[in-house]
Symmetry: C2
């Protein structure tokens, strides 16, 4: 049930593939820069609304950010 | 960005399609029964770990529980 270790990898993977820095993601998503850093390090268990906000900022589907279950 | 109004519908749709009551889902997921009720009514902004726990209990992918964005 460890989804968090995969989630931050997926978010980071999409973010870097699109050339979006953590700073830019913070601005686009209007999520605090330090919180973006914590998400990127897999330190936080984000809520569904944050998932949708991040997906919108990354211009992808929320589904694309979810890691596959083992 | 209103994903919550769709999320509870998707969860309820999968749950009822599988003939799983709220009580049974609470037992299977080990999530408090009253919290399951709140999720079902769209009153809570669930975290990612809860999404994965619910998907496992409903025997579906977490992706299947996410509503499509408009």
């Amino acid at each position: 049930m460890n989804c968090l270790s995969g989630l931050e990898k997926k978010i980071r993977s999409v973010r870097t593939a699109k050339g979006i820095s953590q700073d830019k993601l913070a601005v686009k998503s209007q999520i605090d820069r330090s919180y973006i850093g914590r998400i990127d390090r897999g330190e936080v268990n984000i809520t569904m609304d944050k998932l949708y906000i991040l997906a919108a900022a990354l211009e992808c589907k929320p589904q694309d950010l979810l890691p596959e279950m083992d």
